[in-house]
C-alpha cells in the first residue's frame, strides 16, 4: 500500500514537476528558517541578553543588528511559507483538474452499455469526491519532502557527534513510522466501511424525499424515519469505531517525540558523564529534536493520506481504464437533402449477455417515409430506436444508412444525419435557444421555425425572456410536455435525414401531438421519420407500420395490411375499443 501510494504520488509529481519544485524549495527554505531562527535566538541570548541583563553591559551597537537579524529570519520563513503553500496548491488543484478533465474526456467516449452499468451519482462522485481524495496527499507532500531532508540531516549530524544518541533518535523515529503505517493499515478497512454507510444513508434520504408524496399519502413517515434511523445509527457506530482507533493512534504518535526527547536527555546524561559527548553537544541535539516534532507528525500524516488517496484513486482508475469505447470509421455524411434509407439485417441485441431483447431483426425503411414501430410492452421498440440512432450497437448483424454501416461513420458525422428524441428529454442548464442549438451556430430564424414545427413556439413566446429564458436544472421549470417539445425542436433544427422519435411526445396533450405530427408530414423536412408510437393517432399518420413482438419483427406494411395479416397487431389496436364496448355493454346491463 505504501509503495503504491508513493508511486501514485510520484506519478502526479512527474506530470507537474515545476509546481512541485517550487513547493519543495519553499518547504526547504521554511524548515531551514526554523533551524536558523533557533540559531539566531541562541546567538542573541549569548551576545546580547546575557551580557546586558546579567553582566550589566551596554546595549550599544548590538540592539538594532540583533532585532534586524530576527526580523530577517522571519522574512526568510515567510518567503518559504508563501512558496510552499502556493506551490502545493498549484500542484494539488492542477492535478485534480487534470484528473477531472481526463475523466470527462474518457467518459464522453465510453459506450452506453458501460454507462448503463454505472449510475450517474456514482460517476459524479468519482469525478468530484474521489479525484479530490485521490490528490489530497499532494497538499502535505512537498512539506513532508522538505522535512525529510531536515530529518535525515539531523540524524546524520547527531550520529556524527555521538553514535549512541543518533541511534536513540533513529530507533525512536522508526517506532513512530511503524505505528503510523500499521495505523493506516488497520483503520483502512473500517474507514471504507464508513464511506459505504455514508452512501447508504444518503441513498435512503434521497429515495425517501423523492417519494415524499407517497410517504405522506400512505401515512408512512414514522416507518421511514425508523428506516433512516437504523442506517444513521449504523453510520454513527462505524464512525465511532474508526475515529476511536484514529484518535488512539494520534494520541500515541503525538506523545512519542516527547518520549524520544526524554530518552535522549537520560542517555545523553550518561554519555556526558562518560565523557563521550560534551554538554553543549547534548543541548544542541535536544534542541534540534524539539524542532523535529512537526516534521515527524507530518510524515505520519502523509502516510495516512497516501492510503486514503490510493483507495480513492483506484475508483478513478476504474473509470479511466475502462475500454468499452465507441469505435468509429471514417465515412463522412452526404448532404443529399433527402430522407435517408435505413435497413437492418439479422440484428440481434441484448443489454445483458444472457438475455436477448431483439432477435434477427430485418427491417427496410425507404428514404422519406414515415414509419411507426408498434408492439406490446417489452417487445423491443425503444431498443430498436436506440440502435437506429447508434446509441447502442447490435450484438450481431448490421444497421445501414443508405447502404453504409452506421459503425463506419466518423465520429460526430452520424449525429448530423440521424436525430434521436427520447421520451425522457434532457435539458441542459442553458437558455431555450442554447438547448435547441446545442452550441452550434444556427440563425435565430431557423430556431424559431424549428420551435414552431415542434409546437413549442407559443409557450416559448410566453416565457419571461422568450428564447433567452434560462431553463434546465437551475432555471425555469418547464412541464413534461414543454420539455419534450424543446427536445423535438432541437432535433428538427438540424434538418436530419433520419428522425427517430421514441415516444417523444408522450407528455404532450393528444390533440397537440396530432398537430405536431401532421406538421412534420406537411413540412419540407428532408427526413425519414421513425416513430415509436403508442397512440392510434400517431400510428394513423405513418406510411408504414413495423410490428414487433418479443423482440422479433412479425410484420412490416401499411396499417390496413397489418390489420388484415397480423392478428397480434389487430388485437393490440382493438384492445382499446373492445374494452370500451365491453364496458358500454356492462353499463347498459346494469341500467337495463
Amino acid at each position: 500500500m505504501l509503495g503504491g501510494g508513493l508511486r501514485l504520488t510520484w506519478g502526479f509529481v512527474k506530470r507537474r514537476p515545476w509546481s512541485f519544485l517550487v513547493a519543495v524549495t519553499g518547504a526547504i527554505l521554511f524548515v531551514s528558517a526554523i533551524v536558523a531562527s533557533a540559531v539566531v535566538v541562541g546567538r542573541v541570548t549569548d551576545e546580547l541578553i546575557i551580557p546586558v541583563l546579567r553582566d550589566g553591559e551596554s546595549t550599544e551597537g548590538k540592539l538594532w543588528p540583533a532585532m534586524a537579524l530576527i526580523f530577517a529570519v522571519a522574512l526568510w520563513k515567510a518567503f518559504g511559507i508563501t512558496l510552499r503553500r502556493s506551490g502545493a496548491g498549484w500542484l494539488q488543484f492542477g492535478t485534480r483538474a487534470d484528473a477531472r478533465k481526463a475523466l470527462i474526456d474518457h467518459q464522453m467516449h465510453l459506450d452506453l452499455a458501460w454507462h448503463d452499468r454505472r449510475s450517474t451519482g456514482d460517476l459524479l462522485s468519482v469525478s468530484e469526491v474521489d479525484t479530490n481524495q485521490g490528490t489530497f496527499v499532494l497538499a502535505p507532500f512537498p512539506y513532508a519532502t522538505g522535512s525529510l531532508f531536515l530529518l535525515i540531516g539531523t540524524i546524520v549530524l547527531v550520529a556524527l557527534s555521538d553514535i549512541v544518541l543518533g541511534g536513540v533518535i533513529l530507533v525512536g523515529l522508526l517506532v513512530i513510522l511503524v505505528i503510523d503505517v500499521s495505523g493506516a493499515f488497520r483503520t483502512f478497512g473500517p474507514f471504507v466501511e464508513v464511506q459505504e454507510q455514508r452512501g447508504v444513508v444518503s441513498e435512503i434520504a434521497h429515495e425517501s424525499v423523492d417519494g415524499a408524496l407517497t410517504v405522506k399519502a400512505l401515512g408512512r413517515a414514522d416507518e421511514e424515519t425508523e428506516r433512516f434511523r437504523r442506517a444513521s445509527d449504523e453510520l454513527r457506530d462505524r464512525l465511532i469505531r474508526v475515529n476511536s482507533m484514529w484518535v488512539g493512534y494520534r494520541a500515541v504518535v503525538e506523545s512519542l517525540p516527547s518520549v524520544i526527547t526524554i530518552a535522549l536527555i537520560v542517555f545523553g546524561a550518561y554519555r556526558v558523564a562518560a565523557g563521550a559527548v560534551t554538554a553543549g553537544d547534548l543541548v544542541t541535539v535536544s534542541y534540534l529534536l524539539s524542532l523535529m516534532t512537526m516534521p515527524i507528525s507530518l510524515l505520519g500524516f502523509v502516510i495516512w493520506e497516501m492510503a486514503h488517496s490510493m483507495a480513492a484513486w483506484q475508483r478513478v482508475r476504474g473509470v479511466l481504464d475502462a475500454e468499452d469505447l465507441v469505435e468509429h470509421g471514417d465515412a463522412v455524411a452526404v448532404d443529399s437533402g433527402s430522407g435517408g434509407a435505413v435497413d437492418s439485417s439479422a440484428v440481434t441485441f441484448g443489454y445483458a449477455i444472457d438475455d436477448a431483447v431483439l432477435h434477427d431483426v430485418d427491417i427496410d425503411i425507404l428514404g422519406g417515409k414515415t414509419v411507426a414501430i408498434v408492439g406490446p410492452t417489452a417487445s423491443g421498440k425503444s431498443t430498436l430506436a436506440l440502435l437506429l440512432a447508434r446509441l447502442w450497437d447490435p450484438r450481431s448483424g448490421e444497421i445501414t444508412l443508405d447502404g453504409r454501416d452506421l459503425r463506419d461513420f466518423a465520429r460526430s458525422e452520424l449525429a448530423g444525419e440521424v436525430a434521436f428524441v427520447a421520451q425522457e428529454s434532457f435539458l441542459f442548464d442553458d437558455t431555450v435557444e442554447g438547448n435547441i442549438t446545442l452550441g452550434s451556430d444556427i440563425p435565430r430564424g431557423d430556431v424559431i421555425a424549428a420551435a414552431r414545427l415542434a409546437g413549442a413556439e407559443r409557450f416559448i413566446d410566453e416565457l419571461d425572456y422568450g428564447y433567452d429564458t434560462r431553463i434546465g436544472e437551475r432555471g425555469t421549470t418547464l412541464s413534461g410536455g414543454q420539455r419534450q417539445r424543446v427536445a423535438l425542436a432541437r432535433a428538427l433544427v438540424r434538418r436530419p435525414r433520419v428522425l427517430v422519435l421514441d415516444d417523444a411526445t408522450s407528455a404532450v396533450d393528444p390533440s397537440v401531438e396530432t398537430e405536431i405530427l401532421r406538421g412534420l408530414r406537411r413540412s419540407e423536412l428532408p427526413s425519414t421519420v421513425v416513430i415509436v408510437a403508442y397512440r392510434r393517432s400517431s400510428i394513423a399518420l405513418a406510411d408504414e407500420v413495423i410490428y414487433l413482438e418479443d423482440g422479433r419483427v412479425l410484420a412490416q406494411g401499411t396499417h390496413d395490411q397489418l390489420l388484415a395479416s397480423t392478428p397480434g397487431y389487430a388485437r393490440l389496436l382493438r384492445a382499446y375499443e373492445h374494452d370500451m364496448a365491453e364496458r358500454e355493454r356492462n353499463r347498459e346491463d346494469a341500467h337495463g
Binding site: T45, I49, L53, G56, M67, A74, K77, T82, R85, S86, F93, M108, L112, H115, T120, V201, D210, G211, L213, T214, A217, G219, A221, F228, S232, L239, I240, N243, S244, R250, A251, E254, S255, G268, A269, A273, V283, P376, T377, A378, L414, A415, F420, A422, S425, D429, G439, E473, T477, G480, G481, R494, A507, S511, T514, Y534, R536, S537, A540, L572
Partner: protein, 589 residues
C-alpha cells in the same frame, strides 16, 4: 456573515445543544481532560530545562541517578497526558457522532412533516443535503476543528498565565502585540472568505456542467456534441483551478505576513526587554523564557482563526438545519383528533380557495359535495386546479381559506391515523422504493405477506401480468422502480392502494401514454379498486370520465361544469370540447 438577520454561530450552536442533547453530554469532563492533557505536555519541557540547567550544564559532575529519576517523572507526565488526551478525544468522537446522528434523524423526521410546497422537486436535492453534507461538515468540524480550538485555547491561556509570573510589563507588550496580530488575522480571514466564496461559485459551476455531461450523455451522444460538452467542462474546470490557485497564493501570502508580524513581535520583546529589563528587575533567564512563551502563545492563534473559518461553514450548515426545524408544520395531527365514521365517507368543499405563497389563486372559491359512494371524475386542462383539488381533499395541502370536510368532519380535526387508514391518494407517478414488488405493495399496509400481495394482484385481475414478471411478486423493482415501465409502476401503485383498503380513494391518473394492452389492464384494475368506495379520479382519459357517475370540469381554478357524462356532452361546453380532442386522438384513422 454581515447579514444581521442570520443567526449567530454561537446561538445556533446553543440551539443545536437543545435539539440534540447528546452533543453536549459530558462536555465539561471532555474539556477538563483536554486541558489536563495540554497542561502536562508543558510540564515536560520544564522538567527537561531544569535537568539541562542544573545537571548537564551545571559545574558539578552529572548525577545520572537524579537525571534518570527526573526523566521517569517526565515520562509519567507524558503517559498521563497521552491518556488524558486520548480520553478527551474519544469522548468528543462519541458525543459528536451520537449528537449529530440524533440531529440527522430529527431533521429527517421533520422533512417528512413539511408541506408538499417545501418538497417540490427543485428543492429536494437541497433538502437532502441537510441530512447528508451539512451534517458531514459539522461532523468534520466537531471532530477536528472543535478539538483544535479547545487545545489551542488552553495553550494560549496557560502560556499567558506563565508569562504574567515572569514579568507583567513585558506581558503587556506581548498582549498589545497579540491583539493587533489577532485583528490582522481576522481581517485577512475576511478577505480570504471572499476569495473562498468565489471558489465555491466556480465549484458549483463546474459541478453543474460535469453533472450535465454525465446525466445527459445519451443526448450528448445522439447529437455528437461530445467535444462541445468537453470544452464546456474544461473551461469551468480551468476557471475553478485559477480561482483556487489565486486563493491559495492569497492565503499563503496573508499567513506568511502574519509570520512576519510574529518575528517583529519577538524582536520588539527582545528590544524592550534588553533596554528596560534592568529597571524592571528582569533576569536574562526570564527574558529567554519569555521568547519561548511568545512562540507558544502566537503559534495557536493562527490555527484558531483558521478553525474559526471552518466553524463559520459548520455554522452555516447548522443554521440551514435549524431553518428546516423552524419551518412551521402546516399539517399537524390535531390534539384530541376525531375518528372518521365507518360509513358514509363523502367529501365537501365549502368556499375553498388555495394559492401558493405569493402566487395567484390556483383554486378559487370552490364549493362541491361528493356524496358517499359516488364515483367522480375530475377533468380540465393542465393548470386548471384538478391536482390541487385532489391534494386538498386528502389534506396533503391546506386551503388558504374555506373548509374541507370529510365524512362530515372538518378535515383538520381528523386524527392522522384515522385519516390515512380511511383515505388513500394514488399520485400520478406511483413512486416505488428500491425493493421487491411485494414490499412496495406492503407499503400500503404494514405486515402484508408476499402471498397477500400476490392475492391482491389476482383480485385486481393482474394475475397474468404478475406472472410475467421474472420472480413474480418477489421481482426487484430497482431504484425508483426503474426496472418496471411507467405503466407497470402504476399497476403496483394501484395494488398498493387496494391493499390499504381505503373508503375514500383519490386517484390522479397518469398522463404518460402506455401501450393500449397495458392501459386496459390499468383501467380495469382501477375499476376494481374504485368499486364500492367513494372515489375522486383526476381523469386524463376519455374512458375514465365516461365511466364515472359524475364529472366535475375545472377551468382556471373553478368548477365550471358538474353533471353526468351525457348531460355535459349535451351542454356542449368545456367538457364537450375536451371530449372532442380526446376522441380525435384515440380513434382518428
Amino acid at each position: 456573515m454581515a447579514d444581521r438577520t442570520t443567526m449567530r454561530t454561537s446561538t445556533a450552536l446553543r440551539r443545536s445543544f437543545g435539539v440534540a442533547p447528546e452533543l453536549r453530554r459530558g462536555l465539561v469532563a471532555t474539556l477538563v481532560l483536554a486541558v489536563i492533557g495540554t497542561g502536562l505536555q508543558i510540564v515536560v519541557p520544564v522538567v527537561l530545562q531544569q535537568v539541562i540547567d542544573s545537571e548537564i550544564l551545571g559545574s558539578a559532575a552529572v548525577d545520572t541517578a537524579s537525571v534518570t529519576r527526573r526523566g521517569l517523572i517526565a515520562l509519567g507526565a507524558v503517559v498521563i497526558a497521552m491518556g488524558a488526551r486520548y480520553l478527551s478525544l474519544r469522548r468528543l468522537v462519541v458525543s459528536s457522532a451520537s449528537g449529530l446522528a440524533q440531529l440527522r434523524v430529527i431533521t429527517f423526521r421533520h422533512l417528512h412533516r413539511l408541506s408538499l410546497l417545501d418538497l417540490q422537486s427543485e428543492r429536494r436535492g437541497a433538502l437532502v443535503a441537510r441530512v447528508t453534507s451539512d451534517i458531514e461538515t459539522m461532523q468534520q468540524f466537531m471532530e477536528w476543528g472543535g478539538m483544535g480550538m479547545i487545545l489551542g485555547f488552553s495553550q494560549v491561556l496557560l502560556a499567558a498565565v506563565v508569562m504574567l509570573f515572569y514579568s507583567w510589563q513585558l506581558s503587556l507588550v506581548v498582549l498589545a502585540g497579540v491583539v493587533i496580530y489577532t485583528l490582522l488575522i481576522v481581517y485577512f480571514q475576511r478577505v480570504l472568505g471572499r476569495a473562498h466564496d468565489r471558489v465555491r461559485e466556480r465549484v458549483s459551476d463546474s459541478l453543474a456542467v460535469t453533472g450535465e455531461a454525465i446525466s445527459g450523455l445519451q443526448t450528448v451522444r445522439a447529437y455528437g456534441m461530445e467535444d462541445v460538452v468537453k470544452g464546456r467542462v474544461d473551461e469551468t474546470l480551468d476557471r475553478q483551478f485559477s480561482a483556487e490557485v489565486r486563493t491559495a497564493i492569497l492565503a499563503s501570502s496573508l499567513f506568511s505576513s502574519a509570520e512576519l508580524f510574529a518575528g517583529a513581535l519577538t524582536a520588539v520583546v527582545i528590544g524592550v526587554g534588553v533596554v528596560f529589563g534592568a529597571d524592571w528587575g528582569l533576569s536574562a533567564g526570564a527574558l529567554v523564557a519569555f521568547l519561548f512563551l511568545v512562540n507558544l502563545l502566537v503559534d495557536p492563534i493562527q490555527r484558531l482563526v483558521e478553525t474559526l473559518d471552518q466553524a463559520q461553514s459548520a455554522g452555516a450548515g447548522l443554521r440551514k438545519i435549524l431553518a428546516i426545524l423552524d419551518t412551521e408544520v402546516l399539517i399537524k395531527d390535531p390534539v384530541g383528533g376525531v375518528e372518521l365514521p365507518e360509513h358514509g365517507i363523502g367529501v365537501r368543499f365549502d368556499r375553498v380557495t388555495f394559492a401558493y405563497p405569493g402566487g395567484p389563486d390556483v383554486l378559487h372559491d370552490v364549493s362541491v359535495d361528493v356524496l358517499p359512494g359516488q364515483r367522480v371524475a375530475v377533468v380540465g386542462e393542465t393548470g386548471s386546479g384538478k391536482t390541487t383539488f385532489a391534494k386538498l381533499a386528502t389534506r396533503l395541502l391546506v386551503p388558504s381559506s374555506g373548509v374541507v370536510e370529510i365524512g362530515g368532519v372538518q378535515i383538520d380535526q381528523v386524527r392522522f391515523g384515522s385519516l390515512r387508514s380511511t383515505v388513500a391518494f394514488v399520485p400520478q407517478e406511483g413512486f416505488l422504493f428500491d425493493g421487491t414488488i411485494a414490499e412496495n405493495v406492503a407499503y400500503g399496509r404494514p405486515g402484508v405477506t408476499d402471498a397477500d400481495a400476490r392475492r391482491a394482484f389476482d383480485d385486481l385481475g393482474l394475475a397474468v401480468w404478475i406472472d410475467s414478471m421474472p420472480d413474480g411478486v418477489r421481482t426487484n423493482v430497482g431504484e425508483r422502480g426503474s426496472n418496471l415501465s411507467a405503466g407497470e409502476r402504476q399497476l403496483v401503485a394501484i395494488t398498493r392502494a387496494w391493499i390499504a383498503d381505503p373508503r375514500l380513494l383519490v386517484l390522479d391518473e397518469a398522463t404518460s401514454a402506455v401501450d393500449p394492452a397495458l392501459e386496459v389492464q390499468i383501467r380495469r384494475a382501477i375499476e376494481y379498486l374504485t368499486e364500492g368506495r367513494t372515489s375522486v379520479t383526476i381523469a386524463h382519459r376519455l374512458a375514465t370520465a365516461e365511466a364515472s357517475e359524475r364529472v366535475l370540469v375545472f377551468d382556471e381554478g373553478a368548477i365550471v361544469e358538474d353533471g353526468s357524462h351525457a348531460a355535459l356532452l349535451a351542454l356542449d361546453g368545456v367538457y364537450a370540447s375536451l371530449h372532442r380532442d380526446w376522441e380525435g386522438a384515440v380513434t382518428s384513422g
